[in-house]
Amino acid sequence: MTSAEILQLLITGLTVGSIYALVGLGFNLIFNATDVINFAQGEFVVLGGILTAIAVGTAGLPLWLAVIVAIVLVGALGALIDFAAISRVRRGSVMTLAMITLGLAVIVKTSLLLWVGPDPLYFDPFTPGPPIRIFGAVLQLQAIWVIGIGVLVMVALKFFFSHSRVGREMLACAIDREAAQLMGINVGATVRLSFILSGALGGLAGVLITPLTNATYDQGFTLALKGFAACALGGFGRASSAIVGGFALGLIEAASVAVLPSGLKDSVALSVLILALMIRPSGLLGGREERRHTQAM
């Protein structure tokens, strides 16, 4: 391979990685407030993309307004999921709650199929124009949006959890629910807020990636799997870990295409994940002896 082709694979890895990272950030939000892995996170993303595509395409809204509408609506779905299901079994085990989110993912998926059908939806990139050429490799303009906003969101979340009262309270709820209540923290409201934020974040991710990937009703599971893998690779609980894990996963996939038959891409990426977790159970950024929360942010 020429150096331009290797550079192209690198850019591809970063672009795809940024998608995984954005999905992973949403996982982290709910995990930070509840210890629960929200398996409906992928559906949040798909819904964000589909709503924007419909708002731009069918309803004819300007893109910025469509984006806001989509993010608000997916955030509202997050609230609804917590209100209708999660909050009803708040004392259930983490496993019970995770199973509930899995069920909800199926409900959202089938509803989307009935509503918009199986065909892919799509809208144009935020900034029109040909991709940027760097030493013979190309970088799509939308990828710059995805990477840029992804990093911006990560910085914002990092600040939110380490420097804001609400962020701190969210962490406290996941670490020790009873102690958090004794501090006067309304655990129910805090968890709901985490669902709203992660819905909005998922919606935002969908808005950003659809011009690259299309939005199809059944994409959620694959996205969730990759976002989850990104979090696991980086270490659950840290905003920066989703970003690091996401980029790592994207680069591994791209690298595997360079040296192996490309059909093996997914299996290579997930094998590396398993291997990495065997060596460092708490992820790349978490210390070996520390458990999940020990480096919460």
């Binding site: 009935l114 199986p118 065909d119 490309s262 891409k265």
Partner: protein, 379 residues
């Protein structure tokens, strides 16, 4: 609205069955089963096919029926699921159908194959998948072109019309893509066209730039893209973003309207192997085209789904005429089909070959201004 059309299709089906059954009960109608996806992921294929099946049955019935007998359709939704398809085929056999039209998905065709051996009821399937007629199952008839012919057409077009000295292949990892790739490999060897790169894309993948990078590094003179679903429009976009200038020839799965639409400018100029050039109405398509224009407006251009459903009903009607209306002899009747000219092309079934359409029916079309126009027919 998908939901709405699904419901209306379902109710319409019930209505057709009820009204036809009511009016001609004393005539003993010929029952034809239909098992197609009216819901689930493949419903966007099944719904238009069922409309065309119903249109054909109405047309035949209005023109005297088959040997004076009316066709009665028993329409069942397979929900895009193999287990439901199997159930449908068993029920339809119990209800005494002469044959079944469907299923739509290749995997469902493989699932119902053993049922056909038991019930001895034939099926007309809409698969390109090569293997379905290679199962040594006398009850499976293909009402489509085979990817053996489609891949040959793609290669011939690339070398003869486009002058490509070599090709690269991008294909999906499902049966549709891998079977086609195997056929391409064999055919390319025979035609002495080197395949300089071949990359497998995961079905449903949301990015194909890495695969494209590898393919483009081999500097192919033409690129064959074989797969279906959302990934195909991503692949078309990725190819154009990476600055590919080599012509692309896509499979029938790429020729879907939704994929061309979501690929946008990236689909312009792309060639596709398919069964129909919407801009060129053949004499056999005129009746169907007239009915659909009455129904959907003057600008309506026939799609492949409109064609294959219509043809399947006509094939059965002809076979039943051949067998003198004897249900036990439908398969024999089918195998007497010689050069039956219908909307999709010229159908021939023999005891040896259940392929139906040959490479003479294959169209290569090209995307121009978001629509497909015919370039060449017959290979």
């Amino acid at each position: 609205m998908q939901g709405l059309s699904r419901w209306s299709a379902g109710w319409f089906a019930v209505g057709v069955v009820a009204s036809i059954g009511w009016a001609h009960a004393q005539e003993e109608a010929i029952k034809l089963g239909v098992s197609e996806p009216l819901s689930g992921p493949a419903s966007s294929l099944g719904i238009p096919v069922v409309e065309s099946i119903k249109t054909a049955a109405e047309f035949i019935n209005a023109n005297g029926g088959v040997n004076g007998r009316k066709i009665e359709l028993l329409i069942r939704d397979d929900q895009s699921r193999a287990d439901v398809a199997v159930q449908n085929f068993r029920r339809l056999a119990e209800e005494g159908v002469y044959g079944v039209i469907g299923p739509n998905q290749g995997s469902n065709a493989l699932a119902v194959a053993p049922v056909l051996l038991e019930t001895k009821v034939p099926m007309c399937g809409f698969q390109n998948t090569i293997s379905i007629t290679k199962l040594d199952n006398p009850y499976i008839f293909r009402c489509q072109t085979s990817d053996t012919d489609n891949t040959r057409a793609a290669l011939k077009f690339a070398s003869e019309k486009l002058g490509a000295k070599n090709v690269a292949v991008l294909y999906t990892g499902d049966a549709y893509g891998t079977e086609a790739y195997a056929a391409l490999e064999a055919e390319a060897k025979e035609m002495n066209i080197p395949i300089v790169a071949a990359e497998k894309i995961n079905y449903g993948a949301s990015d194909t730039t890495a695969e494209w990078t590898k393919v483009l590094s081999a500097q192919p003179e033409a690129i064959i893209l074989w797969g279906s679903g959302s990934t195909m429009s991503v692949a078309l976009r990725n190819g154009s973003q990476l600055g590919n200038t080599a012509p692309i020839i896509g499979a029938q799965g790429v020729a879907a309207a939704a994929i061309i639409k979501s690929a946008g400018a990236a689909a312009e100029g792309v060639y596709m192997v398919t069964l129909n050039a919407p801009d060129q109405v053949t004499p056999e398509q005129q009746e169907l085209s007239r009915i659909y224009k009455e129904r959907h407006g003057e600008d309506y251009a026939l799609t492949i789904y409109d064609i294959i459903g219509w043809d399947a009903v006509h094939i059965y009607a002809e076979a039943i005429r051949q067998s003198g209306g004897d249900k036990a002899k439908v398969v024999e009747g089918m195998e007497k089909t010689q050069g039956l000219k219908l909307a999709g092309g010229s159908y021939t079934y023999t005891a040896e070959s259940h392929e139906g359409l040959g490479s003479d029916s294959v169209w290569i079309v090209q995307v121009k201004d978001g629509a497909t126009v015919g370039v060449q027919r017959g290979f």
